[in-house]
């Protein structure tokens, strides 16, 4: 890690309009929006594993998709190696994508069932006009071997249905790595894989990071995995980052009440539940009607009048540790 920022996100927002029924459209003019990502700023340093963690609906996957420009942002800026990529159009975007790749959660849905493994993995090379024919084949074999699918010749002619979930996820990795990207968004890459195989995929990711000088944006709901894999972690709640810091800071000194509750809820592989789950009131509010003030206040046991009125900013409490909570400021 040399401290250079490979990705810088500033005030990123993504609002999805809510579809209305015919009558509603006639009777009301206001449009509702799902505020999936609501003003998020962070940087990812070259060579690190930066994790976005949070529960379903917190906007972590949307953020990942925005960064590789699979969906356009509502507002905000995304800098890749200090170049704004939010405005890139077709051709430029295609060229940039070679260096920015994404691995999806579901290896059963992310591979074309009618394409042989060799075709799937080699396809990006054709799209980008990098290699054809025997050269393509050589590159495919090389990358398959690299992700641990040996002997690679055997896998070339198989279809996805002939592979296990773990093998498919390796294929998905091979496909994204074949373009030699610098930055990879890994969106819950192990959550659909059997427990005994998860570690192999995670270790493979970490090995490849060193070998190929990769940087990862890792997206997960599983904080235990986040702790194992990350250098830095950002915890998201309802479209916003509520706490961000080094792995050590987040796990030994969690400051935001939401992070604390999240950590207390994680099962630990030991007999007898020692810790008590911190009580959180109610459930996550709707991303359409975000509560005024701190968006976490309806569930927070430390909520004050101030929390109900104005939203706390994400501020640095100790070096590199950012928290969006008035309790932490005091």
């Amino acid at each position: 890690m040399n401290g250079d920022r490979i990705i810088r996100v500033e005030h990123l927002k993504k609002y999805f309009p809510v579809e209305k029924g015919f009558l509603e459209r006639l009777l009301t003019r206001t449009r509702n929006y799902v505020k999936a990502v609501d003003d998020v700023s962070f940087s990812v340093l070259k060579g690190e594993v930066f994790t976005l963690a949070g529960e379903s609906g917190c906007g972590k996957s949307t953020t990942g998709k925005l960064i590789v420009r699979l969906i356009p942002p509502t507002s905000g800026k995304i800098y890749f190696n200090e170049t704004d990529i939010t405005k890139l159009q077709k051709e430029q975007l295609r060229i940039t994508r070679r260096r920015l790749q994404i691995i999806f959660q579901d290896p059963y849905a992310s591979l074309n069932p009618r394409m042989k493994i060799g075709q799937s993995v080699g396809h990006p090379l054709e799209i980008h006009g990098i290699a054809k024919g025997s050269e393509k084949r050589k590159k495919v074999l090389e990358i398959l071997e690299r992700v641990g699918l040996v002997p690679p010749e055997q896998f070339m002619n198989l279809y996805p249905y002939q592979l296990s979930g773990g093998q498919r996820q390796r294929i998905a990795m091979a496909r994204s790595l074949i373009l030699r990207p610098e930055f990879i968004v890994a969106d819950e890459p192990v959550s659909m894989i059997d427990v005994s195989l998860r570690t192999t995929i995670i270790d493979l990711m970490l090995d490849l990071r060193k070998e190929l000088e990769l940087t990862y944006l890792f997206i997960t709901h599983d904080l235990a995995i986040a702790k194992y894999i990350s250098d830095r972690v950002a915890v998201m709640y309802l479209g916003k980052i509520v706490e961000m810091g080094s792995k050590q800071e987040i796990f030994t000194n969690p400051t935001h009440p939401y992070t604390q509750a999240l950590l207390s809820a994680i099962p630990v592989p030991t007999p007898e539940r020692k810790k008590k789950t911190l009580e959180l009131k109610g459930e996550v509010s709707s991303a359409i009607n975000i509560p005024p003030g701190c968006r976490f206040n309806p569930r927070c046991s430390y909520s004050t009048d101030k929390c109900k009125k104005t939203e706390p900013e994400l501020i640095e409490t100790t070096k590199g540790h950012f928290v969006a909570c008035y309790k932490a400021e005091a």
């Binding site: 059997d194 427990v195 709901h221 235990a224 702790k227 509750a261 809820a265 592989p269 459930e283």
Partner: protein, 328 residues
């Protein structure tokens, strides 16, 4: 038949298979265990280990083309597999109830929540009036922590966590002696998961039912069960009280599982993966099912499948490494 009235449930030599087009798959092979009142049994295994088929067998509900080949399931001394149609229906829901993994698809989307309760209660207890059934549903809603007014809602109006609470309330509606929860929290977020598991525990303390918790998550079963069955390729590979399983983990597969799951409470942790992948059940290996992935492999492992060896009080292990111990 020897009856063992001291246990609430006794399963002996249960074997279940699926006759697929491509061949026969033995999903559950020679499984035996017992369950007592108020006890929590954790069943842990990966996909394809047979844990769900085991759960479904207990209510005689293995889906076609599956069937139970042999074995006995004694519930309070009565063989579940020998019951007639009527009695089997009475078994499901009233004596053993089931909480399925996916609360989104287990409720009827075009019926109000209260109608689910009315239908369930009146099917089993025809004399109960509709009003009484609704009263009971309201009380159950209080038990599982939802406002009673919500029984008028449709399933889509509830969140995932609330739907799973509804499923638990339905499972408790007929006061069963055993609740089988098959991955009850897999579709839910961690905070909701912890709440649901706490809820199951408190309801168990209140009503004294036995709980069979089926999951792929070893952390959950270690934290929440009294005893644990580890399944691999349809077999029990290790069975022990949860504290024993943690302190004296014996089967190489259980050891591997423990080493491969991250523990958030540890400062630095080096995870080691179990190499290889679970066997193809259509072409299972000869001998021990785990040998292709085992680091302690011996010649005998490839020839003969080990029986369950008894290595301690209530501790059974299916591994040749423990062959010196008495065969259980």
């Amino acid at each position: 038949m020897i009856q063992k009235p001291q246990h609430l449930l006794t399963v002996e030599g249960l074997t279940a298979e699926y006759c697929a087009q491509r061949g026969r798959i033995i999903a559950v092979e020679d499984v035996s265990f017992s369950l007592d009142k108020g006890e929590t049994l954790g069943v842990v295994g990966e996909s394809g280990s047979g844990k769900s088929t085991l759960g479904l067998s207990l209510i005689h509900l293995v889906p076609y083309p599956g069937r139970i080949v042999k074995g006995t399931i004694l519930l309070e001394g009565q063989n579940v597999l020998k019951l007639g149609k009527e009695k089997t229906r009475d078994l499901r829901g009233r004596r053993i109830s089931y909480v399925f993994q996916d609360p989104m698809t287990s409720l009827n989307p075009v019926e109000r929540i209260k109608d689910h309760f009315v239908e369930l209660i009146r099917t089993h207890e025809p004399k109960v009036t509709k009003a009484d059934a609704i009263t009971r549903a309201r009380k159950l809603f209080k038990d599982v922590g939802i406002q009673p007014e919500r029984i008028d809602d449709y399933p889509h109006q509830l969140s995932g966590g609330m739907r799973q609470r509804v499923m638990i309330a339905l499972a408790l509606a007929l006061d069963p002696s055993i609740v089988i929860a098959d991955e009850p929290t897999t579709a839910l977020d961690v905070i909701v998961q912890a709440k649901i598991l706490d809820l199951l525990k408190s309801l168990q303390n209140r009503y004294g039912m036995a709980l069979m918790l089926i999951t792929h998550d070893l952390s959950i079963v270690l934290e929440r069960s009294d005893k644990i069955i580890v399944m691999y390729a349809g077999r029990i590979v290790e069975q022990a009280p949860s504290s024993t399983l943690y302190t004296h983990t014996q089967h190489p597969y259980s050891q591997g599982l423990l080493k491969s799951i991250p523990n958030i409470e540890l400062e630095e942790q080096k995870l080691t993966a179990i190499g290889g992948s679970p066997p193809d059940l259509l072409h299972p290996p000869i001998g021990c099912q785990f040998w292709p992935r085992c680091q302690y492999i011996m010649e005998i492992c490839k020839i003969k499948e080990p029986p369950l060896f008894k290595t301690g009080i209530d501790h059974l292990v299916r591994c040749h490494l423990y062959a010196g111990e008495t065969s259980g």
